[in-house]
């Protein structure tokens, strides 16, 4: 057991946890932040559990919760203020960038990070950026469109974005 202190979506937490607890389980089970999903087993390939660790998109199933001690985490729940959508979330809604929505939180977290690095991405760059997120419903077409739209919205400063 270990005591950890960390910030999740701007809120400070202190918890006593097992060393072996995965970060994704900590977020889901201990903090009830169930927007972060699990879609594969040990391999860490699907990307549904992607979160931001100190601003970088990483897979929370490939980290132990104890590793997040002292760090700053953002989950999909923290991507926008309650009652509003970020540009990226809005673009996914506008362009039908999701169907079942299971992979979506991971995709949003990865793409939010991606867009800060690639403010003006090509389709090919977006597709390459999405390799770490499997989606079974959309065929990715609308996802690419949504990310492109979000890039434009961000550039146009269409609205305040907290990502």
């Amino acid at each position: 057991m270990k005591n950890i202190k960390l910030t999740v979506n701007g809120e400070k937490f202190e918890e006593q946890i097992d060393n072996r607890l995965l970060l994704v389980d900590f977020l889901r089970d201990n903090l009830s932040l169930t927007g972060t999903h699990v879609g594969c087993t040990y391999e860490g390939v699907c990307g549904a559990c992607t979160i931001h660790l100190d601003g970088d998109a990483v897979k929370s199933c490939m980290l132990l919760a104890v590793q997040a001690d002292g760090h700053n985490i953002t989950t999909v729940e923290g991507l926008s203020a309650e009652g509003s959508l970020s540009n990226l979330q809005q673009a996914f809604n506008d362009e039908h960038g999701l169907q079942c929505g299971y992979c979506t939180p991971g995709i949003l977290m990865n793409m939010a990070d991606f867009l800060t690095e690639n403010p003006n991405p090509s389709d090919e760059q977006i597709r390459h950026g999405l390799i770490g997120n499997l989606c079974r419903c959309t065929g990715y077409v609308h996802i690419v469109r949504a990310v492109k739209k979000a890039a434009k919205m961000l550039k146009d400063g269409a609205r305040e974005d907290r990502t």
Partner: protein, 292 residues
């Protein structure tokens, strides 16, 4: 699948502390965790059951790229995403950039490190092959605090096997800057984009003032044995100016001298064909980069 019990977890902030923790445990009890992008797969599947995890993430001293006059020194905890973006690798060591930019996916590159990858030496991994091609040296500190430098040729022993002992800590990977023009490249093929390489090839060529190759290194991965040199191909590049004929002779010679396995991903013959095809492209690129 969830990890089996982990009795201890440490997050030291200096190499000395790491060595101390290792020393306080029986051999084989502790595991150094770098980015953890491979190790966690093994831990979650319970193939790996470390009693004690030593997390290296707070070792700031291992996180820098030092572009020194004669060598490029990359801290063991430098991440793929940083390698892929680093301008320090632009001139001679583009091959390492090529490899780092296509390891796994963005999330993996945001977390995985050069040190973790070379120490894990997975059977099909890009970074060890690129480091081997670029003649990297591993700088280790052993339990007594003494420094060891092991060159890539002596470091990579086989899948999951390296010359690093369990009580060693890898602190950096360094590359000697060639005094003459040089170029490097790395490319892989997988069934889906950026997957673990079915075949991955790195090449490094040094050219004299006439543009003729006087030293060449080629490394392969994906053959089931981890990163491996393909010396048979290298000798055929000596004296070449990057002409297609010598390059094709080199890849053909690699095929004749290396075992390629058949598995779920590809047949042996197809791997050879990929060596020919990708190998030619990679070596050509290395020459081209050297000629700029």
């Amino acid at each position: 699948m969830y990890p089996a019990e982990i009795k201890e977890y440490h997050k030291p902030d200096s190499v000395e502390q790491v060595l101390e923790i290792i020393a306080n445990h029986e051999e084989g009890e502790s595991l150094l965790l770098a980015g953890g992008q491979s190790a966690m797969q093994a831990i979650k599947s319970r193939m790996l059951r470390p009693q004690c995890i030593i997390d290296l993430q707070d070792l700031q001293e291992l996180k820098t790229i030092n572009d020194e006059s004669e060598t490029l020194k990359i801290g063991a905890m430098v991440r793929y995403c940083e390698l892929a973006k680093s301008s320090a690798l632009n001139i001679n060591f583009t091959g390492l950039k090529d490899a780092a930019a296509h390891v796994g996916d963005r999330q993996v590159r945001n977390r995985g490190t050069i040190g973790g990858s070379v120490c894990w030496n997975y059977a099909a991994a890009c970074t060890p092959a690129a480091v081997l091609a670029l003649d990297g040296s591993m700088h280790l500190i052993s339990s007594g605090g003494e420094t060891k430098v092991i060159c890539a040729d002596d470091f990579f022993l086989g899948p999951l096997d390296t010359a690093k002992s369990e009580s060693d800590v890898l602190v950096s990977v360094s590359f000697k800057k060639p005094k003459t023009r040089s170029g490097s490249a790395y490319k892989k093929w997988g069934l889906v984009k950026d997957a673990l390489p079915v075949v991955g090839i790195g090449a490094f060529v040094k050219l004299d003032s006439n543009g003729s190759c006087y030293e060449a290194r080629i490394a392969l991965t994906g053959m089931g044995v981890g990163a491996q040199r393909a010396t048979a191909g290298e000798t055929l590049l000596l004296g070449s100016d990057g002409d297609l004929q010598s390059i094709e002779a080199a890849t053909e010679s690699i095929c004749a001298n290396i075992d390629a396995p058949t598995d779920l991903s590809a047949t042996s013959d197809y791997r050879y064909q990929l060596i020919r095809s990708i190998g030619t492209e990679v070596i050509l690129t290395a020459f081209k980069r050297a000629s700029i």
